[in-house]
Symmetry: D2
Subunit: 337 residues, 4 copies
Amino acid sequence: MKVFQIQDDWGMEHLQLATRPDPKPGPGQVLLRMKAASLNYRDLLVPNRGYGAHTGTLPLIPLSDGVGEVLEVGAGVTRVKAGERVCPCFTQGWVSGPPQPDRAAHNLGGPIDGTMAELMCLPEGGVVRVPDYLSDEQAATLPCAALTAWSALMVQDHLAPGAKVLVQGTGGVALFALQFAKLAGAHVTVISSSDQKIERAKKLGADAAINYRTTPEWAKATLGITGGRGFEHVLELGGEKTLPQSLLCVATGGTISIIGVLSGGTMTAQLGRVVMKQVRMVGIGVGNRDGFEAMLRAMALHRVAPVVDRVFAFAELKEAMAHLRSGAHFGKVCIRH
Amino acid sequence: MKVFQIQDDWGMEHLQLATRPDPKPGPGQVLLRMKAASLNYRDLLVPNRGYGAHTGTLPLIPLSDGVGEVLEVGAGVTRVKAGERVCPCFTQGWVSGPPQPDRAAHNLGGPIDGTMAELMCLPEGGVVRVPDYLSDEQAATLPCAALTAWSALMVQDHLAPGAKVLVQGTGGVALFALQFAKLAGAHVTVISSSDQKIERAKKLGADAAINYRTTPEWAKATLGITGGRGFEHVLELGGEKTLPQSLLCVATGGTISIIGVLSGGTMTAQLGRVVMKQVRMVGIGVGNRDGFEAMLRAMALHRVAPVVDRVFAFAELKEAMAHLRSGAHFGKVCIRH
Amino acid sequence: MKVFQIQDDWGMEHLQLATRPDPKPGPGQVLLRMKAASLNYRDLLVPNRGYGAHTGTLPLIPLSDGVGEVLEVGAGVTRVKAGERVCPCFTQGWVSGPPQPDRAAHNLGGPIDGTMAELMCLPEGGVVRVPDYLSDEQAATLPCAALTAWSALMVQDHLAPGAKVLVQGTGGVALFALQFAKLAGAHVTVISSSDQKIERAKKLGADAAINYRTTPEWAKATLGITGGRGFEHVLELGGEKTLPQSLLCVATGGTISIIGVLSGGTMTAQLGRVVMKQVRMVGIGVGNRDGFEAMLRAMALHRVAPVVDRVFAFAELKEAMAHLRSGAHFGKVCIRH
Amino acid sequence: MKVFQIQDDWGMEHLQLATRPDPKPGPGQVLLRMKAASLNYRDLLVPNRGYGAHTGTLPLIPLSDGVGEVLEVGAGVTRVKAGERVCPCFTQGWVSGPPQPDRAAHNLGGPIDGTMAELMCLPEGGVVRVPDYLSDEQAATLPCAALTAWSALMVQDHLAPGAKVLVQGTGGVALFALQFAKLAGAHVTVISSSDQKIERAKKLGADAAINYRTTPEWAKATLGITGGRGFEHVLELGGEKTLPQSLLCVATGGTISIIGVLSGGTMTAQLGRVVMKQVRMVGIGVGNRDGFEAMLRAMALHRVAPVVDRVFAFAELKEAMAHLRSGAHFGKVCIRH
């Protein structure tokens, strides 16, 4: 089968098209013919060994997100059958419950081989069926980006209708967070560097928006939006540069989901503010399979349409990565297998 | 001031129009000119001393729900000011947090004097401001019926989008539960004895409905609706006759909110089913002031319109009660002061 | 291998010694040489098909609890290795998180073959290692009885130090609940029909006790113990006859764990009390593997010694069952393989 | 009455003995004759306006913790009566439930006058009765330091028996955390700069300890203690210098309570680690009155003795503050009124 893999050594230049033998499903396994994949910011870091030992060993097939059709099932498989369309779970083996040391790092796209392959062989417990209403590209966006947003808002927090939520940017996780928060009856404020993207976010349901390029002290500008209460939930997707402002505009007793490290991996923040406002800061590590299935039930009920920015061909992986790195995207960058 | 009160002895016949001296607000108190009130099933039981010692002593002004305008505030009051429109809280003194033995039974309409009075004098902490978009009659429906539904779904449980909810009937609490569950992105099934009421419930957002008169074994009929999973949340408003069926159609690990006792005050249910399905059954005692204010923020954001069935004049209290008892209503029965 | 099984038809008389072929571990499976088993009240109901369809099909090997030594592991097994001592999990496949419809009824001792066999073959994910300080008989008591008590107090509830807990009786679950509640710093009251058993419960740490034979209205007698607040947590092990009194003495906002059906499988209770006191009644279905492992860490830290009432030989299964049925036991009735 | 107050201007040199008129209890208020007070690190920051606007206006009576006897009650007071011994609540008006913007900053010792006064007049809802077994000095240590530790472990988290907890240092909050975690059946590791203090911590129940002066990379040294799992709960009392190591040794899915800022008010930490380990970091703002009363029930049941390091006379406030600043203390520094 055809794959992309990082081979010989770490580094973007070692990410190459290659051929591997076709896998066969063993007992309890399912073989998927992959239909589409989708990129996350994480995928730009993995080739340069961005997660250290957690990135795994070479050769490594990158990308965490994708969707495939079940070609064949191994002995004893009961959860799925041939012909069904499924997504692989990002964290293999994390079925339910809180994160545990022994099952938090078995992630696709590093250290486990990811979705840039014609075929994937996985334990039956490591895939979930996807609703028919979604296109392949839409379904391919879900395992990492959508589930991260869901886990932040619905599992690690419990958004009630009327809650005020701040979403940073208009990337993959951000737009899913916007869509899911709206499903839950929340009021959503988006910050973005582009008025054009703000217009699109409003069409997706954003109740308020701030251009952080023209309003660099955006936290102050949100006081009117929240009536001075602050946001019950802030999705922290920027990291180093945004966290201090997130602490300014989060509500007393509110939650900041720590997800992204786009603007730098070190946080510097005033501890005093965390204490005075009694803020909860929660690191979000994608999520478990139960959460994935609950999210799909919600999406199917409301026909939530993931925002696909652009679709590249399988061979165009590097172009797709460059597009994601440019920040020009709105929503998810996908690959057609 | 003019009031209705139960005087001389318990019994519906002792519920009469009367006059009391106008109250004056002491330090920390607010004086309200009542604008409207609204009836709950509870109000039919109180005159007959339906809660025993918890019903209080005579004379007693009945009714828990209402809305008024602040006429005057006592010394030191800061939470509200004259001219603002506020609802009294059903459980006076329960501001926040879980129920506590020392603050669970201070309820308006028994043992504390209720809303069938021209004037009410309450501690400033015992009222909440209501949004302008609501009419007086709409606002009068909130303290007991709406907050009970909110507490059941959003405080004692945390409905996530896509959850399946069963609501019994189309009375006050039931319709608020339907409206709030829809705000939260849930899928709602209503059971009712009337096809006409079912039609109205669907207009309010119900996704599915069953006429339990024509389908007495309604629990079985819901299997298709939930795909066999059962309901994540059942609002048990019937009591004695409905609970066994609720246990049949609730999901494994699901929640049954115990609210109503319309069909009888004794529950008889198979304990084995509670254990096998690991059901949570939660007694709902209206709710606290923080919940009330969070509910109002959600309602204001979404302009939720309480369903007012019919409005009676102050002097028509007994006619209003008879109307509620008849079961002909859809939504709340109100009184115009 | 030698087994006990219910064969030919349901009924205690069809529970017999028999021989089955030795199982071999397939991929991902472990083969155990069983060392000991232990009885639960459930095991007295299964031979008479006490759980209907959930009891499974014949022939069926009974008993849920036991411990064995890993004899051999199948291909790909990494969680355990030969020579280690492990307990089978009662609910196979429920690793973590809340109960789910698809993984709540795969229980050992019905519908899945249980521990009355010389050898057991299970998925590696379906067993947990047990601490060395426990004897085989002690370890054999854990999967069902101990985990039920743990789940009730520590997973479905979160006992804080100083909480007041009521435990009914001195059977297996009851004594584990007593021991675990004491670990958590709670105050524990035990009710029992025997002064002698009460003495033994006090030696295990019970802070207060009531003989419900000499004090049939035991709920009233607890008012002094709780200072009138009631119990934050009641372990309801009796069922039909005890629940009404449990509702009398549980605290406002308190929790009743619904576990047992010893005195009858139907509950009849005043719904009004559930509502007025805002009680949570939670059906406890043993628990998941994460809970089992957390419980074992707590037990090992504090060297908690399960109370073994009496040990019978493998061939004496029916005598052991008769002993359990008699109610004369204090703690767990065990079988030595 | 005699008081200490910061007057004329901010700065430690403006903290002086002064006289104020004796207060009289208004309706709903209680008048206390203070018996003892106790110092927190916070009290060293307040005179220099360490909390900005939250520190309040001058003149200001400092210190948050203390105990007094009810001298007189105002009209309508029912919660307490003359002669009873009570502690003022640190956050006045926060009775129950999660923190809220409108009731998180009404703190004694800034912005509200504190406990360095012969008499205090407070709303009846702002005090709690203390158990008889405690001396005045012991009781004076509770409102801030003890409740902070309780809220961190039992309210914002729910320690189960067997959990592993890391406590930093041997100051007031640290020792209460050690004592409370032991009540809850946890395993507690203490880090300290002094072998002598470590010995004392072990006598109080610490299961393990590390001298961070001789073992600067103490986080690595804890791997053996937790078997590589990490700590379920870390009480972060150091702040700037300790947080990076706390993130190294906290368990996947674990909680870090953000309490102290002893080593600096800015946190600099690797966001990636927060995400990978899915850590919850929770700012702890002392706690509410319900928590205070639950803590007192637990303490009274177990006769927990607060550790009083040294008692100074009322006039020796500055000497007491210098002693606290020196770091030589083990437990709480108290003032006898």
